[in-house]
């Protein structure tokens, strides 16, 4: 049974916000995030004959995360750092909000990629531990331990920078 077009669009509407929030904390560029989400859905659409609706969402997550990793690798390879990191998420636009966002950006950049993926997925994706494990291809127990380590590292880093 192949994937239908309306199922693809329904999945897009369902996951767009969560995907954007997870990918944004990795790429820190609105346009890049939108491109990655778009490309992930197009790749899935190209393989629609072999995809069933019940595996669609997990596949979207896996594809989007892989594409984001590729993009980060490409940036590292070419030493490409975007000049204008879009730190627009400060809701009030106050200076202390901007600084907090900047600190969070640095802290997440310092986290190992595996821990960052688990932390962001558990925070934004709405997936359960077993589903996150399936998306990332790791055991369920590892999800919990990585999340715990990620939180510890994040708090340590943010605590250090807050005191600095």
């Amino acid at each position: 049974m192949s994937l239908r077009e309306d199922a693809l669009y329904a999945s897009y509407c369902r996951l767009e916000r969560a995907l954007f929030n997870v990918l944004y904390r990795q790429l820190w560029q609105h346009e890049d995030c939108q491109d990655v989400i778009h490309d992930a859905y197009l790749r899935i659409w190209a393989r629609r004959e072999r995809i069933t609706p019940d595996t669609l969402d997990a596949l979207v997550w896996t594809t989007a995360l892989n594409l984001a990793r590729n993009r980060l690798r490409w940036r590292r390879l070419w030493r490409h750092e975007p000049l204008d990191v879009d730190l627009h998420e400060a809701p009030t636009g106050r200076d202390d909000d901007f600084l907090a966002t900047r600190r969070l950006h640095d802290a997440l950049q310092h986290l190992p990629a595996a821990e960052r993926d688990v932390l962001l997925l558990s925070e934004f994706s709405g997936l359960r531990g077993a589903e996150i494990a399936s998306v990332l291809g790791i055991p369920v127990g590892t999800v919990a331990s990585r999340k715990h380590h990620a939180m510890t590292h994040l708090k340590a880093f943010l605590g250090d920078t807050a005191h600095a």
Binding site: Y12, N21, H38, L42, E123, A162
Partner: protein, 130 residues
């Protein structure tokens, strides 16, 4: 120290993502339809072309074979030169024609160029008897 939700507020994705995806899928579908239609036209065009070739080729081949057979049959009949006259004709033939004078023999000579197989113009060769 703030909790994680304070650090990671939920953001709204930029608008227009779904429309962009729908446009891209529609464009893909359009390209695929064009490709399929092109393939169908090519398939439909091949059939009359093959039929035309089958209709045109055999008569030409048959004609060519007939010409070759005729040339092959005529060559041995006409090729040997007339031994008594001392006349030698390469890649062609000579036929003695009636002559009005007693000391003049008249021949009709036709030669064929070996590569082009195009007959040379007719020549009248006269050979005076000793």
């Amino acid at each position: 120290m703030p909790d994680l939700p304070d650090w990671l507020p939920e953001l709204d994705p930029p608008s227009g993502g779904l429309t962009r995806l729908q446009d891209a899928v529609a464009a893909q579908r359009h390209r695929r339809a064009l490709r399929r239609r092109g393939l169908a036209w090519a398939t439909m065009a091949i059939v009359p072309l093959v039929a035309l070739a089958l209709w045109l080729l055999p008569p030409r081949l048959q004609q060519q074979h007939r010409t070759q057979a005729l040339v092959a049959a005529l060559q041995p009949a006409l090729a040997p030169p007339l031994p008594a006259s001392g006349l030698r004709v390469h890649d062609g033939a000579a036929v003695a024609l009636p002559s009005g004078q007693a000391n003049v023999r008249l021949y009709l000579v036709q030669t064929v160029a070996p590569r082009s197989r195009t007959p040379t113009p007719l020549h009248h060769v006269t050979h005076e008897l000793p």
